[in-house]
């Protein structure tokens, strides 16, 4: 049988498009998820309480740090700027969330966080693809 029909190598030409789509979705979701925390003191207080309930140390410091980190990493993903750093930060943030918040829950409850950890790892290694500010800056340097 034709190997190309089995493994569809021709689809590799759309990798940058798929990376752009996943960046926009994940970045947009991260920004959406913490927007109320960074724009409302009351929602930030609720997030501090959530972290305290889950046994995190120094929740008054960690809550704003986590919210702002997710906001900035989300914006960097959308832009495709410093994408590998953003991916590392996202992977680390959501590995901590899985361990610190979801550890005793079901896989279904793990999924929203562990998917972001895995996606972060993908961006940390594969990078943002051709349709990104990182790629634009790399082209300008050449």
């Amino acid at each position: 049988m034709n190997r190309d029909l089995l493994v569809l190598p021709g689809l590799a030409r759309f990798t940058s498009l798929a990376l752009l789509a996943l960046r926009l979705l994940t970045g947009g979701f991260l920004i959406h998820g913490v927007w109320d925390n960074v724009t409302s003191a009351q929602r930030m207080d609720e997030f501090v309480g959530f972290l305290a309930t889950n046994g995190f140390p120094a929740p008054e410091m960690l809550a704003p740090l986590s919210a702002w980190t997710q906001l900035i990493a989300g914006a960097l993903l959308v832009l495709g700027l410093l994408t590998r750093w953003a991916g590392l930060i996202i992977a680390l943030t959501f590995v901590v969330a899985v361990i610190g918040v979801h550890w005793y829950q079901s896989f279904r409850e793990w999924w929203p966080a562990i998917a972001r950890a895995a996606i972060g790892f993908v961006f940390a290694t594969i990078g943002p693809g051709g349709w990104s500010l990182d790629a634009m800056l790399a082209r300008q340097r050449r």
């Binding site: 759309f14 498009l17 929203p112 972001r116």
Partner: protein, 143 residues
């Protein structure tokens, strides 16, 4: 390390295949875990058929088992890295239908599980499974 290497971390590209393996194992493992109760328990499958009917699907008795078995098979194929691009396309198609029929009016937070699976499917449909996938052996013709 040059400032440029520190900013853009190109050295991390060497772990891309490991990241694709992790993404395949986590996504495939999740699908297998989520679908196992549906395909192994007739009562659970009847509940899923009812859920499909309530969501407006035609022929729920046909499409509920089809979707459950398809997701289970997609999960196994992702874990193995077998026909990954086809699998990614199927995953994206399955959750496009799920988004339209079930999650359209949900909040972004509630859409995330299905949307993330849809876009992970699109990514794997283009990148393939990476070096640690059975597909690589098919590509290179090795046994």
């Amino acid at each position: 390390m040059t400032p440029r290497a520190l900013l853009f971390l190109p050295a991390l590209a060497r772990f891309a295949d490991a990241a694709l393996l992790a993404l395949r194992l986590i996504t495939g493992g999740f699908l297998v875990w989520a679908m196992w109760p549906n395909i192994s328990n007739a009562e659970t499958m009847r509940e899923v058929i009812g859920y499909f009917a309530a969501s407006g699907f035609v022929w729920p008795e046909f499409f509920a088992p089809l979707s459950a078995w398809a997701q289970f098979a997609i999960g196994i194929a992702l874990i193995l890295g077998l026909l990954t691009r086809w699998t990614g396309l199927l995953l994206a198609f399955n959750f496009t239908i799920g988004m339209i029929m079930v999650h359209w009016h949900d909040s972004f937070r509630d859409q995330w599980p299905a949307l993330s699976l849809l876009f992970i499917g699109l990514l794997l449909a283009t990148t393939g499974g990476g070096r640690f996938a059975i597909d690589r052996r098919i590509e290179t013709g090795r046994r």
